[in-house]
Amino acid sequence: MSDGTDDKPFTPANPTCIIATGGNPYLPRPAVVKRIVEENPTVRTLELALADEIDNAHFTYLPGQFLMLSLPHCGEAPFTFSSSPTRSGSFALTIRRAGLLTTAVHALQRGDTVCVRGPYGRPFPLEELAGSDLLFVAGGIGMAPLRSLLAYCLAHRSRYGTVTVLYGCRQPGEFCFQQELQQWRDDRAIHLLCTVDQGDPAWQGRVGLVTSLLDEIEVNPGRLKALVCGPGIMIRFVIGHLQELGLPAGSIITTLERQMKCGIGLCGHCHFDDKLICADGPVFLGSELPNLERL
């Protein structure tokens, strides 16, 4: 277990520092690939450090925030941190191969340079989570931002009540952070339930949608905060289900994905009714989402 043991003082109130770019928010800074973890055949985690050591030493972020990652000739795209800020010296992005840029990510090797700018966006409300039972509900690659928060919370385990993780994937081969999750479960730090949409002969676990796991756990609406991330349709059904179980919308926290070009609330691509996902989010309370149909 690499995260969480480092008990460096951490103050969430400290405003996140934006990489020094001479005041130009569009200028990305080089970052070097320090380590690559192949999570599964289509997902890998990049551990990065800013090439400039002073920048890197000052670089802070919070769970739920994202970076704009550039690769040569591929443009840039937003990725949320999958690492916990409690771990210093580097940060991690967990990326599924899907399009042009992410395919290039999968060709990267240790020592290669990429470019990043950020961090951007509203992080998870860390202060408000303290003292609550936590329920993480992740679908597929949606585990990446939740893992950042999970690692952060486990680094300050005493601040929280029970921690339950529900994790659904389409197929057994798609789970990420497996060793780490199992380690946490074995340490009794978390209660972990996994499910797949479609099993295979080797799969011994549950088969079914992640929403079905919600019926297996105990929900104490007064104490619980739910953190949900995954495909839009999954978020919608999980929020609906949690509300049926009596959880108020304000206790459900989710993080949304959109096409983004600037990351700083200007380009308009991530407009969602009167909100901008990049600046007003990507983390939202269920009560702030006006329209679940269009998630």
Binding site: I18, T21, G22, G23, N24, P25, Y26, L27, P28, R29, P30, S70, L71, P72, H73, C74, G75, E76, A77, A98, G99, T102, L108, Q109, G111, D112, T113, V114, C115, P231, G232, E257, R258, Q259, K261, C262, I264, G265, L266, C267, G268, H269, H271, F272, D273, D274, A279, R294, L295
Partner: protein, 361 residues
Amino acid sequence: MHRTLILQKDHLLPLLRKLRKDNRVIAPVRNRFGDTFFTEIEDFDNAAIDLDQQPQTSLKSFFLPQSETLCRYVTGKHPESGALEYSFHAQVPVRTPTVYFGVRSCDLFAVMYTDLVFRRARERDIYYDRRRSDAVFISIGCARPFADCFCNATRSGPFLDMGFDLQLTDLGDRWFVQIGRPRGVRLIEEWPAFFTLASEADRKAQFQVELEARGLFRRHVHVDLAVKLLQEQPDHAAVFAELSRRCQDCGGCAYICPTCICFNIADLRLDEDGGERVRTWDACTFAGFTRMTGDCNPVDGETGRVRKRFLHKLLHDVQKHGRPSCVGCGRCVNMCFGGVDIIRCIEMLAAEGENGSGGRW
């Protein structure tokens, strides 16, 4: 200092010529094909400044160019380790003091709106900021609205109370000058010989022109009603379905609109070793505007896109900034091949509000 002055019409060109010494001067100029655009004037003797027609495009491209290089990037392999090397180098516009002359109220109001977006964000867009910081606006109150104008309904004209450095009103043989922001004061102080104090009669004449202008609008567009109807119920499925049926997906409405400032950023590969990161205008009526990898699109279908565009203008910006972001310039009316313009949208919403149905037009 007196806030109202007179500038003789004969003295306008000489004044602009003086301003040209330390500034770029941008004004509506009619080109040889009869089209009027905001153009930088270098040769005052051979430029036809045209204050009789609406410039075909707004000032948008002067602050947010249709295409601009934000950065250059270089890439390659480290000669020894073979590791990928990659770095960016910003290309920031040089600051150039610029006087924008002959700006209509709607277009100036649009600049104030884009300021709201670009200058109130968490981080300043230095590209916009640099172009914007050194701008002086000499606007013209519209004594005669053009055919599709409805700035009276969007409260962004025909005359403004703020935002301009100087606002001119045509009083026949002379311009009535109102001073707005500090740069206007400085301009007057620098070139006092061009201005005389306005008399009470001048002020009355100006008031009269402004009053009459308000009565000359040919279009009566119920913007407030549309906003109210959308606030009550944002769906209006029939209206947006009918509008989107005619949309040809060209993006012209967004490109011509002075307040449509959504943009795209993409890498332009010049060769193996590098390229440019280029920002271009974009349009929310394009499917690719919101499409994500894997063909997932949170705003799917042409109805959803057309709806998003009009709701942004008439509802979401009201929620965010307290007023619709349409400035009533009417340019989209002539631009759209399918007639999917904001006036049509507002009229259909109003008609639906009246009859309870959208119907075909």
